[in-house]
């Protein structure tokens, strides 16, 4: 046995690194986080918010797997609300404004208390590998830390280069150095390393904003918390604001496009289309005269404001002028300039669905290094990498969630079957089984894994079982309780042929949600029922049950396709009969099932047929 210092070393203390380290320690491993600044764990480098469409589902999944993100935001959020409330519950997405520094502090405190976890200040410079197996890391200062598994979660620090106008500074965040040696170490190990870009807006001094000219956006009462494990707390929610750019903004930004490194040619890597810089917005959507800007507080103890929607890499002097053309920001003072940052990533075909690299056993990638963007995406990968690093050490099968089980499964499957062309952000539309992958049932979907791997304690498991029992009870209540049609008010006209209707039937009507139902019950003199979590869950379950039964058939089809597993020893090289493009793609992504192969771009039905034939031959041939 080679002696090691830790079971797992996690490089980077961001959202991915922290969840990875915590999951691994919960499974009993000894873990070290190697980070440049132990006081900045899980720092929100960009917007001070957690959740949003597609992302909140990831947070709920992290929470179901025993992760920290949901609890941390519940403890430090300053405003909570659900997006998409006018749409159906499958796409309801919780979003919270965070007190940025309080969030980090709570994560730091939590990690310091976590047994088995050590936080080491340092900069990882090299991944140590012996005969294709990871052995640990060497820091830039030369210190060697031996481990059985290494998780790389470097965010924008890997080869980070910040652009403000024509100025370029190597940095991971503004004022914080980049990690440059580690990229070379990965290249030397044979990894393909690419470049991506992202950006952030300038921060404003809230005391210099004319709030009377902006539209207020209050939080939702009571606050929709993220974690079922959080204990409710008193919260006086802060108000966010919305405002708009003006014709002057458009004129000024358009006139100065050439000053932006995004347009001058200085930045060649691709940024996210869904989160464009203000330069991009005016350039690509020239027909639009104004753009929406959200003014979000960075926390309770600070007056700093994050103008969401105004990401820019224009020179600081132009940023100053441009921000003052926005309604209400006429006298606004910039506290920190916006910037664009380019960083290294490793195209994710190089990792398996377990997030272990194909090239080096025991080496895992999580977060932006896999080409994603966002705290939630990072945290979700982190927790999977942490679980599977320990599985690797224990010689156990990796945990791989599939597309029908979790957003997490959708994300990782997307990453390993698609070429990254821009930073990957989660959306609900990426999940084809969206109606079954909801915020409200993340626990039902994932608690069994959390228990299997010891990620939650008995108390939490019992709480979940209680919730399930209550939900079943409420489902029975909704099915067995009827109301008279005459008492339905605006919905009466929909039930002309009957005199009474069950609550469950009502719930399936367009426009009838739990709120409407409770109102109807109240009018009908039915026993008042509190809008408990269990009742909410029951109502959603009933509303979708018909669709989900139908979706189940699709899921079964999908599962059959996934079960056509392509074994590890499959001979990809000698598979004649494929078009070159398809051969290259298959060799690159080495899919682990026919289903996965079918999702690789550029692989046609004909190619799949050929692959199926070879696979059958391979299986039938005597070993």
């Amino acid at each position: 046995m080679v002696s090691t210092d830790f079971d797992v070393v996690v490089i980077g203390g961001g959202h991915a690194g922290v969840e990875a380290a915590l999951a691994a320690t919960r499974m009993g491993a000894t873990v070290a986080i190697v980070t440049m600044d132990p006081d900045k764990l899980a720092l929100m480098s960009c917007n001070p918010a957690i959740g949003g469409s597609g992302k909140s589902q990831l947070v709920k999944e992290i929470d179901a797997l025993g992760g920290l993100m949901g609890m941390a935001i519940d403890a430090t959020g300053v405003q909570f609300r659900r997006l998409n409330l006018s749409r159906g519950p499958a796409v309801w997405s919780t979003r919270a404004q965070a007190d940025r520094l309080a969030y980090t502090k709570s994560v730091v405190d939590f990690c310091r208390r976590q047994r088995g976890l050590q936080i080491i200040e340092g900069v990882a410079g090299e991944v140590l590998v012996d005969h294709g197996k990871v052995r640990g890391i060497r820091t830039e200062s030369g210190e060697v830390i031996l481990s059985k598994a290494v998780i790389v979660a470097t965010g924008t620090f890997l080869g980070g280069l910040i652009h403000i106008g024509p100025e370029q500074t190597p940095a991971g965040r503004l004022g914080e150095p980049a990690a440059c040696k580690l990229s070379n170490s990965l290249r030397n190990l044979g990894f393909e390393v690419g470049r991506l870009k992202t950006g952030t807006p300038p921060r404003l001094d809230g005391d210099t904003i004319d709030w009377s000219r902006c539209e207020p956006q209050p939080g939702e009462e009571p606050p929709p918390w993220f974690s079922y494990r959080s204990s409710p707390r008193e919260l006086r929610q802060v108000v966010c604001h919305m405002t708009y750019t003006t014709d002057d903004t458009k004129r000024l930004v358009t006139a100065n496009l050439a000053e932006s490194p995004i347009f001058s040619g200085q930045i060649k890597s691709t940024g996210p289309r869904y989160c464009p810089s203000i330069e991009d917005k005016f350039y690509r959507f020239a027909e639009k005269d104004r753009h929406l800007i959200f003014l979000e507080p960075e926390g309770m103890g600070t007056s700093e404001i994050y103008p969401n929607g105004f990401s820019t890499a224009l020179p600081e002097s132009i940023q100053r002028q441009a921000i003052r053309t926005v309604i209400g920001l006429e006298n606004a003072v910039i506290t920190r300039p916006g910037y664009a940052v380019e960083y290294d990533y490793c195209p994710a075909y190089q990792v398996r669905p377990s997030l272990e690299t194909r090239r080096v056993a025991g080496l895992f990638f999580a977060g932006q290094i896999n080409g994603t963007s966002g705290y939630e995406e990072a945290g979700a990968q982190g927790i999977m990498a942490g679980i599977n690093a320990v599985n690797h050490i224990n010689d156990a099968e990796p945990l791989v969630l599939d597309r029908s089980e979790a957003y997490l499964g959708v994300m990782i499957d997307d990453l390993v079957t698609r070429s990254t062309t821009e930073p990957y952000r989660m959306f609900t539309s990426r999940a084809e089984y969206r109606l079954a992958l909801r915020e409200d049932n993340a626990l039902d979907r994932l608690t069994r894994y959390a228990r299997q791997y010891g990620l939650i304690d008995d108390q939490e498991a019992v709480a979940f079982e209680k919730l399930c029992a209550q939900t079943e009870q409420e489902v029975r209540f909704l099915r067995n309780t009827t109301v008279r049609v005459a008492e339905l008010g605006p919905f009466e006209s929909r039930f002309k042929k009957q005199t009474s209707v069950s609550l469950s039937h009502l719930l399936k009507q367009p426009g009838v949600g739990l709120e409407e139902l409770l109102l109807i019950m109240k009018k009908g003199g039915k026993p008042r029922r509190p809008a408990s979590d269990a009742l909410r869950r029951a109502a959603i379950q009933i509303r979708y049950e018909g669709y989900i039964a139908k979706q189940q058939r699709e899921i079964e089809k999908f599962k059959r396709q996934e079960s056509e597993v392509i074994p590890d020893g499959f001979d990809w090289q000698n598979m004649n009969g494929l078009k070159n493009e398809a051969r290259e793609k298959l060799l690159r992504f080495t899919p682990s099932s026919l289903g996965q192969a079918s999702r690789i771009e550029g692989v046609t039905p004909g190619d799949l047929a050929v692959l199926a034939v070879h696979l059958k031959r391979f299986r039938d041939s005597p070993a």
Partner: protein
């Protein structure tokens, strides 16, 4: 001229063994046609031929391949084949080259199916449909519809995922789009009836009382038109079935010789089979013997007993009576709306008009034949029907103000139905088709 194809590792070797080039100094170069003499193993010169060699990377079959073009006489072709087999070749199984092309990724499964259809096409229309599928016009058409559908989905999805941006989803526009997609799919689905006729033939049953002239008509049509030789044609005790090509359409002619010989010698089972033949027909030609005085009342009676299938009335044996068309038609009850042709199978009078009527009847079963986009598979028709049902539900929900994730759900279901036609979605069914079409592995 005849063309012979050899595929496999030893193709070139075998060619060199039997082919004496006119210019022996030249080497075999890929795709270069060479002129020379084909000789037998004993040195006998069999024929002047052209020969070409295609290396594995660039051939249809994906194997080393040789093609020999010789004179077309059956005798000479048989001799050359015999020599090649004598030297170690074996005759290809039907469709084997296409199977090789498929297994080597030269063509995908839908194209392989299309090749099979082109090869086995018995008529011009069948060939045309096969070609449309082969050159991908059909898949392209479905892909275009799919694109439209994805655009609608994207619009609605944008409203869900990017609600904070402006760009409220425009329901009216989505509704109009969905309706137009529905129409396109419905049109395609309806073409299936035409597609079935292309593949299975337009089924015409010749019926009538004994001695109405059914067999005469049957034989006359077979004599005048190109008969199609098929494996299914055959004679039973109960009926005769033959195929002819009429204006490019395959027509399956069925002579129910024994039917309606009520109380005759035909056994019950035979009767039942003949009844079944009639019920599956696209058209009945009902023949009337004008020389029987009671024909109008017999006809009225018979018409009430025939199944609800389009009927073409043939007033036959006009040569035996002295009456005008007007008189005849007056004798038919005005309630009989079937189109009528007056014929004499003996003199041939009216037969051309009968054929015109037949072609008209076939064409009326063929919607949108001009585009050549015809659904010929029951599986495809099923999927199109499924897509239509999903689209209708989506439209209904959109109108009713149902929440968008449910509208999208049905739209996505419709998309996957289309994807299963083009093979974009990989299903076990597809795998099953591969393994049933081609014997692979053990």
């Amino acid at each position: 001229m005849a063309a012979l194809r050899l595929a496999g590792k030893r193709s070139l070797e075998l060619l060199k063994l039997h082919f004496k080039p006119a210019k022996p100094s030249e080497k075999f170069r890929p795709f270069l046609m060479r002129y020379g003499v084909f000789t037998g193993a004993d040195g006998e010169q069999l024929d002047e031929v052209l020969a070409v060699y295609m290396p594995e990377k660039h051939s249809y079959t994906g194997l080393d391949q040789v093609e020999i073009f010789c004179h077309g006489g059956q005798q000479i072709v048989r001799r050359i084949l015999g020599e090649l087999v004598g030297s170690g070749a074996r005759p290809a199984e039907p469709g084997e080259f296409t199977k090789l092309a498929f297994l080597h990724g030269r063509i995908d499964l839908t194209r392989a199916e299309a090749v099979a259809q082109v090869i086995s096409a018995s008529t011009e229309a069948s060939l045309k449909a096969g070609r449309e599928h082969l050159f991908g016009a059909y898949s392209e058409h479905i892909e275009t519809i799919r694109d439209d559908l994805v655009t609608v989905i994207a619009d609605i999805e944008a409203g869900i995922d990017f609600l904070e941006e402006d760009g409220e989803s425009d329901n009216a526009a989505s509704l109009a789009r969905i309706t137009s997609i529905e129409q396109k799919i419905a049109r395609l689905e309806q073409s299936y009836d035409g597609g079935r006729i292309i593949n299975e033939g337009f089924r015409v049953v010749i019926g009538g009382r004994p001695n109405a002239g059914k067999s005469s008509l049957f034989n006359l049509l077979l004599r005048q038109e190109r008969a199609i030789v098929t494996g299914t044609a055959g004679t039973t005790r109960d009926y005769l079935s033959e195929w002819i090509e009429l204006s490019g359409f395959p027509v399956n002619l069925i002579d129910t010789a024994g039917l309606r010989q009520l109380g005759g010698s035909i056994e019950k089972a035979g009767q039942a089979r003949a009844e079944e033949m009639i019920s599956e027909a696209n058209l009945i030609i009902w023949m009337v013997d004008l020389s029987r005085k009671t024909w109008p009342s017999l006809l009225r009676h018979d018409l009430t007993e025939l199944p609800k299938i389009p009927i073409l009335l043939l007033l036959n044996k006009i040569d035996l009576i002295q009456q005008t068309k007007k008189d005849l038609v007056r004798k038919i009850d005005s309630t009989v709306s079937s189109s009528t042709v007056i014929t004499s199978c003996k003199s041939g009078r009216g037969i051309t008009r009968l054929k015109t009527k037949l072609v008209e009847a076939i064409e009326s079963h063929m919607p949108d034949m001009t585009s050549g986009l015809v659904v010929t598979s029951a599986r495809h028709k099923g999927k199109l029907g499924q897509a239509l049902r999903d689209l209708r539900r989506a439209r209904k929900n959109l109108v009713a103000g149902e929440s968008p994730e449910l509208v999208v759900f049905d739209l996505r279901q419709a998309t996957s139905a289309l994807d299963e036609i083009t093979g974009r979605i990989y299903t076990e069914e597809l795998l099953g088709r591969i393994f049933s079409k081609f014997c692979i592995g053990k």
